[in-house]
Symmetry: C2
Subunit: 245 residues, 2 copies
Amino acid sequence: MRKLGTRHENLDRKVYRELKSMIVDRKLKPGDKILQEKISQEFGVSRTPLMCALKKLEQEKLVQAIPRRGFYVRRFTKEEVLEAFELREILEGLAARRAAMIVTAVQADRLRAFFRDADVSDNGQSIKRYSDEDRRFHNFLIELGGFDLLNDILENYNIIAVSYRIDVMEGLVRHPRETLPEHRLLIEAIASGKPDLAEKLARQHFARSRQQLLQEMEQEKARQIGRPAAGKPRTFKAPQQEQGQ
Amino acid sequence: MRKLGTRHENLDRKVYRELKSMIVDRKLKPGDKILQEKISQEFGVSRTPLMCALKKLEQEKLVQAIPRRGFYVRRFTKEEVLEAFELREILEGLAARRAAMIVTAVQADRLRAFFRDADVSDNGQSIKRYSDEDRRFHNFLIELGGFDLLNDILENYNIIAVSYRIDVMEGLVRHPRETLPEHRLLIEAIASGKPDLAEKLARQHFARSRQQLLQEMEQEKARQIGRPAAGKPRTFKAPQQEQGQ
DNA sequence: TTAGTGTTTTTTGCATACAATATTCAATCT
DNA sequence: AGATTGAATATTGTATGCAAAAAACACTAA
């Protein structure tokens, strides 16, 4: 009998996961410098696996590496969030189509359980719960598509996570009251095996959010022009977003 | 005056690039074990940056890591190639649409220069040249779309490279004679700023290749069933493709 | 004050060292 | 012979050490 899997997990993987969730959960904030010595002590590992984890996160664009200077938690621009939505529109559209084509009865049941007793009231608690379920739902949808590569891409690029980087309503672009019926229609389309409809609904869902986002961005821009210099030009801990490599 | 960029490039990046091109160029073949000591000596660096580079390549799925056993050059399955095409269909479709919307006159000229004097004869030399131009064309198309995230994803996941992993005609699925007119139509649609048409043509282009590929796979399968045990069950250097984690 | 300079302290990037685990291979037993 | 055990060897994963670069600090001169 061969012990195939080797359940050993390398340290850099653990550190990677830990660090990633710290970033996603905002325990490390955008612009923060990542002090290797500090973090590695905190995690009880040496700098070697931490370094490795950081390089992986760099590839995913969660952190920005500046040679000889260090790693910083990355700040996403509005444009990037918008791009993420644009990608999700087509990618999740595709996932929805495929999901509808290959969904099993059991999966359909699990799908229908989403948002079954959703609470669309306005208090923070409910919004948070809805937002969480929203994420779970979209993740499950991707999974249902059975598209390994796609799954991986969305995960590794945090495309979904990035989409929740809006500063209002727990990252939701539109109010649950507005999205709930869309979610329910989409669920039904997939569960009852209607690929064309599923894709159309999924895309519509994102297109609307994107439009809303775009509109907000325009408004914000207009406001900024109206009241230009909002205080002194602040100095950040973080280096200027010199994006490129 | 501040020396902003810091033109220093870390070793792991160099190693990463070097290694990647070795894999893409088949100097390291699928299934090969990557001997860290050997490679690091060959590159004149220690194992630390090599390790880092390998972990990055693992994330991109170019190599497979098995804890405590090592790194192996990954083997792509037909299914993965097919998935790559499916993704390219929608992603490049989107890129083509956006390209058509924002293309400048200069870019249009550069675009029209592609395949200008393409040679569609049957000899290996010509096929190779066409295949190379095909890659360059598609890369340029993505670039034109001006979609940073998308650009990055296609690059990092080697989605385009993977697509050329077919064993015939320098990785081309269909003969230049067949694809050349499609390329020309697509070029014209983008260059003359017709988003809808461009997207439609781009998708059609891939849909056809995908169909062709699918057909070949079916044929192959049929052949395999007709003549089942083709020799003894070979033993490979590589571990059995136990893909997942 | 502010700008500029030299010095100290931190931090990074990498090589190396070492323990833990795999692998190989020879010796032994059926 | 073929299977099984156990030592010898190789390889991996990680910690540590160190030189070079960057940042922080202190001091001087305008």
